[in-house]
Symmetry: D2
Subunit: 479 residues, 4 copies
């Protein structure tokens, strides 16, 4: 799948408590999580007494200036956030972490995911006089936290109790980082849809959306944080707790298939190995296809193609290359323009594909635009046959748990059968991995449960509140 | 007084209701109010159903792009705000107007001035769970408005009642613009400290901090809005009301002396004429000083020098010139650096001052830095004597009503006598206008009452709440 | 005259030899010469062995970064140049000083003015194989210098001889700065059309287009450099010479009337004083006009209005104010747009002009656009009569000596009589200063001869070569 | 080899004659040649009568604005250039194509390569009065072209004769594009060191440094341009010629090994296939090394690792991943900083390498920095053994033909033996491909001769003139 033609992850998280280079390590870790969000980035650090924040638009290196970074030093605690790239209309005020100052103490929040009852919570809060300045779920959580009473106002224990009560009010898929001047609390929703990892660097605890962040800073990867878990880190140590005991693990399948970096590990298994296995399983489904070479769509599908090659015995070749220099270009739209845009990004290697029967492995098909161009380009380069293999099931349904699919109507598999898609993209055959085979692979790697809603429509978390008719109104209003 | 060495106005307001070119006229009007704020600018327009906003940092022409301006068209209602230039630490999130979206309807706010009980209001609101994202008084008002109940939730009358109730809770100096999708309410505090003017353009009502905005857009200047007045404009027409009947007009003297543009009128009198009269009055106090020429410090003191010249019969000359091209320069600080900075901005005209006894008229002295350099430069250029006349009384006290004086300790007259100041700036004599003579001038132009707290320390609005010890803590926290 | 509606000066020069802060002083001096060019700026410094350059587009503060400035330190010799603002199509490569590196030694050049035989010289050089990368006369001079032989290749005396020979080949109006690693030569054309001043700072010689640069850096103003003069400054001292003895001083009248800063001096007289005298002389021509007040168009015509007031006894008032915040705005062209643009820049002070008969003094009229709007605005503000007085003769002819008049056809006085112009601008009367009276004023200040070609068409330097038909072709080619 | 730690190509060329979308196609083609230069980019288009140019600093998408691109339309002829990334000190004036305007006709030039006698030519030209504004060889050629006489000044035949005469004067490695308003001439040096390809798009001829540019615009790849060839394209058609018949093909080996994009073809063979064969040949030399997996250093060495895997039977795995988001970061230098920088760019996949004996394939080693970190990172990730295989011979000598090697002293193999290098990088073994085996691979793909000077020191073009002692002086001067 191509990043310009598909799904968008909604954020990367990192936090570290009690390290003399906290903000610098956070910056490095965020760089390794850049693939989880390119629209904006921010860091909040804590001196122990107060919180200090910096944020900006764009890639990390554009978003934060050296002066901003320096202003976060030398404080020993920090959290960072990279925000996803949506189309247009974005504003700095939506970039996380959010930092709220008050005479009752500072508060910073950042999250990955999506609350399905956010709208109802917002309305209820607005009816009570709350004012929202952003469209972010983190602001909803902040309001709930500020309004919660009891549990001993000033004590850490009281704070933890209030956070628990608030987390029980929100529904959806979320990984939250909640920072006060003297504590960092992280929590994962009761279905564990989004990933969150625990690590240690020089004796200090850290958390991250993916383990590649730990690799980047030389931290040790301790374990995956579980559904319903709530962990609080202070200068006194770490407190492992659960805000709920009713959990039902449904880790997002797309993290394995597409989002996570190939070197990131889940339950000590790299997504690279999982993708290889998905490719092996696909090979099993495509035994009937005879071909000379197998090609992965760079970069995210190379691992699946590798597995496919190993299982099928068909030689893998780099028959498609990707231009590393991608950016906004000024090519006039219209006549040939879209075709040109893809041509500028992906190129077939003629003398590899010419005269050959080719199997192309892609990790998923969203709109089908890129697939069509790949088939066309390979055939123009001389491929005798082009068979498309997809190392995941047909992606048919929108995600309400934190993944952005530009327009639902654009998901090709939601309105066309595989045969119709094959016809549209011009391939000689098209094979998807079955849902069962996909789950077999996950189980073989020790998965405790995966969300497959985008393939099956079986949403593990009730989405009724998330699809209220008013939602569209609000979206049109630009909220 | 020089803008780099003195007081800073805190904002310019403009709003217009029901004009096909509302946002464009607002942009032009804000350009004429640029002297009231150079740190940021924003416009919110209303389609009648929803509000749309755009804002940015810097001068108007930098703050808003053409794309942003276009996004506000062709809506018929608009308010705009120019924000003052504070030193450092500023953030886009503080730029007004604020725009709050809610399922209960959109709300936009902008103000000029300062609430003396803002801190207490914030604390009380925070204790009730309110979250603040800025340090602005407009956010305080927004919270109060959102929490106010009763009066018929949905009706315009109910809204007006709630606004009145809220305005009664806030104390201080303020001109507020409160915009809902279908109404614009403007209000002035019960002491009328900040200016607010009513105008009409092509049949549509408009409001502005100064009448120069009306001149800029070709609007008619109707009248000055009074202390305690609250005016609501809708498609149905204009509603004149008062949120309180207990008023005590104390218009800011510094608006006349320094802040307002010379062509702006108050009670149909231009500040140019008022300044000339202040200069005439000063001449009366300096009868004993014998001189060949009188020179005004450009640009704000030229009018006073003019009046001085007319009254004294001493010829006025442009003996000091100002470089129009001022911007950040990269001159190394240290050795001679500050002197150079002034030299780059103000130049004496040698053959005008050489061999002459000179009276220099400045409208006020804050830190004394510029005055010292002016005296030195004129003497270096050959002036035989340099007498300094200030067309206002000694400025001794900080302002709590919306004027920023960098550091209180830096106000020279708060710690030195006129004779000590004369000595420090090196002038042959130094004469201030007396408080009584200043008031005489204002009364002659029909003033109903002027605030003179910065000269006398007689604060018309109780400032006790504004100077709580906690204030300093919060300021240090960066709130 | 308004800078957006009139003539454009073509550059400001400054140079200093043998000062430890050479480049910093040059930067400050250029800032004071910013009015002579806003399109670009550059500095070249010499270490004594090699030359180092930096340049950029826009105002000085935009054109040169701190890093660029630092790269020019701590070399003891420097020249700087500010370039005029032409419309569009400009390129960094045209920004001066030009710096040419060669194994025969480095060379830097900058100039103010225009060579009338530049085209013929370019063609001859091109025919000999020369390559031009810019459209600047300085590049022509560089080629001539590089091709010149004899005089003792390596000696300073030889170099001076070659420069003399080259200067004799070029015709036109020019002030040149020619810098080698170990010498700075400045030269003024044989008619002395452009100004060039000699100064001294802390024992080091410096040159500048105007004395305001000396004031800015605290340098002493020694004297005006004469027509045909060529001065060479080295570590050994200063060498006064002439490249020609056949001279005919014709200093540009417009420097006095409009271009030079009011505090700049010529023959020890400030332009402020000269402008006042022009205003006095104009009063003599307008004795028949009865009025209540006289108003100068800010800023350049205030001095003339002052002189007019003194001579006529009619009180001067600041009836027109100028908005200091001018920049590119995004107002849609068309309906009312041009009128708005002027309204945003100039405002009448209503209560000054209302009910009064007004004389407005402008220093010149080029296209008449601004004049028309001034008359209209003053009448709208209530002026009973508006009489326009111009403190220079009708400007009728293009300048070939370094002044840019946007389009010749746009010079209103070249196609209309004063009475027709009066009618077009809507004034009650229009009076120009006569050519004779203008010269009388100049002579009274010791002028040795003034160019009045733009008024009379009497071009002191033959312009035949400058108006070859091919010029238009080349201009269309974008050369 | 890593792009931040190695060699830098010096430019990419593209040109097209007679296509309605000439400049747009050039822009797209340059985008595909971005890997050949990231410092600057420019395009010159021809209307048939005049040339029009645009250029800028940085990546293509930064260098040229939409306005600039639009200014080059709709002219039917265009050439484009991408310039290499050198460290610091670069200036816009060095960005190609150069555009020279003259009354004798416009001229544009761009090149890839390096003239070994450029310094002597410059000096001779300077002695004749020529002025150089850049340090580029293209400017040298321009001067030679402008000075050349004879052959019928105005005719195309005369022009071709003059170009031939000039090309005979320059020595070195070069691909030149010479554009006049009505013709485009391209030429390759007599050793054919740099690549230049001929293609056709919609009937129009085009040229490019690599065939990937043809793929990007959908053009047909006709053939490789030969050593000594000179091709002129006009509206009348294409003229194939040679400026010399004494040729000795020595195509740069590094183009195959590292520089060219993997899908670019030479003599109809993709570099991907050549790199695979180099990997196969290396496998032959490493038969004695027993390992579990083979890993290529992404991206440029994946093909060689692929070939190695096929020949050795050792499974290839993606054991190293590259972060796609690379840019300037603000990490403080010092303690751990360099290690961090590499860690941010390359990550091992732990569960792939853990417990395994690993062969890492890199296409070359320049400084050894990256190799050392790769070995360390793989061992930290658990690799039992790390054997380094390099698919090219030891790189020992600087290149004088257009490749930038940061500092000669930094080439590790020029001062250390393979065993010493192995020790420094910490690998268990280190094997280079032999020079003979490398040539065997090239010959098998029909190479007519390869330059191997960087490996052997046998420079096919005399470099004596290029290493004159004065060179260093000039370099220090910043010329």
């Amino acid at each position: 799948m191509d990043e310009f033609d598909g799904l968008k992850e909604e954020c990367g998280l990192f936090g570290i408590w009690g390290h003399p280079e906290a903000s610098e390590l956070t910056y490095i870790a965020m760089h390794s999580l850049q693939h989880r969000g390119q629209q904006g980035a921010g860091i909040v650090s804590s001196s122990g007494d107060y919180l200090f924040g910096a944020r900006g638009m764009g890639l990390l290196t554009e978003a934060l200036s050296k002066e901003q970074l320096d202003s976060l030093k030398p404080f020993p605690h920090a959290i960072g956030h990279t925000r996803y790239a949506s189309s247009g209309g974005s504003e700095l005020s939506n970039v996380q972490p959010f930092l709220f100052k008050s005479h009752k103490g500072d508060l910073a929040l950042a999250h990955n995911g999506n609350l399905v009852n956010a709208l109802n919570l917002r309305r209820a809060l607005e009816d009570e006089g709350a004012i929202f300045q952003t469209t972010s779920d983190s602001e909803v959580l902040a309001h709930l936290l500020r309004r919660e009473r009891g549990g001993g106002e000033e004590s850490l224990e009281g704070r933890k109790k209030r956070i628990k009560k608030v987390l029980k009010q929100v529904k959806g898929a979320f990984a939250f980082m909640i920072m006060h001047q003297d504590s960092l609390t992280v929590a994962l929703d009761d279905h564990g849809v989004r990933p969150l990892m625990l690590g240690r660097k020089d004796g200090s605890y850290c958390v991250a959306s993916e383990t590649c962040a730990f690799t980047a800073i030389g931290a040790e990867y301790i374990r995956d944080i579980e559904a319903g878990e709530m962990i609080t880190i202070t200068d006194e140590g770490i407190d492992f707790d659960h805000y709920t005991d009713v959990t039902s693990p449904h880790m997002c399948s797309m993290e394995y298939i597409y989002f996570a970096r190939a070197d990131s590990e889940f339950r000590r298994t790299s997504t690279y190995r999982i993708r290889k296995e998905l490719g092996r399983a696909l090979a099993d489904e495509m035994r009937q296809v005879d071909a000379d070479i197998v090609i992965g769509v760079p970069d995210s599908s190379l691992a699946a193609a590798h597995g496919f090659s190993e299982a099928s015995g068909i030689r893998q070749e780099q028959g498609l290359l990707k231009n590393r220099y991608v950016g906004r270009t000024f090519i006039t739209p219209g006549q040939e323009a879209r075709e040109r845009a893809v041509r500028m990004k992906l190129s077939p290697v003629r003398d590899i594909v010419e005269g050959r029967r080719v199997i192309v492995i892609d990790d998923s098909i969203v709109r089908g635009t890129t697939s069509r161009f790949i088939v066309k380009a390979l055939k123009k380069a001389g491929a005798k046959e082009v068979h498309m293999g997809v190392s995941s099931p047909p992606l048919k349904n929108p995600c309400y748990y934190g993944i952005d699919v530009s327009t639902h109507a654009e998901i090709i598999a939601s309105r066309k059968s595989p045969e119709e898609i094959r016809d549209e993209i011009g391939a000689d055959s098209l094979t998807y991995l079955s849902v069962d085979k996909m789950h077999d692979v996950y189980h073989s790697f020790g998965s405790k449960g995966q969300c497959d809603a985008c393939f099956t429509g079986n949403y593990p978390i009730d989405i009724e509140e998330a699809i209220l008719p008013q939602e569209k109104d609000l979206k049109q209003k630009g909220v």
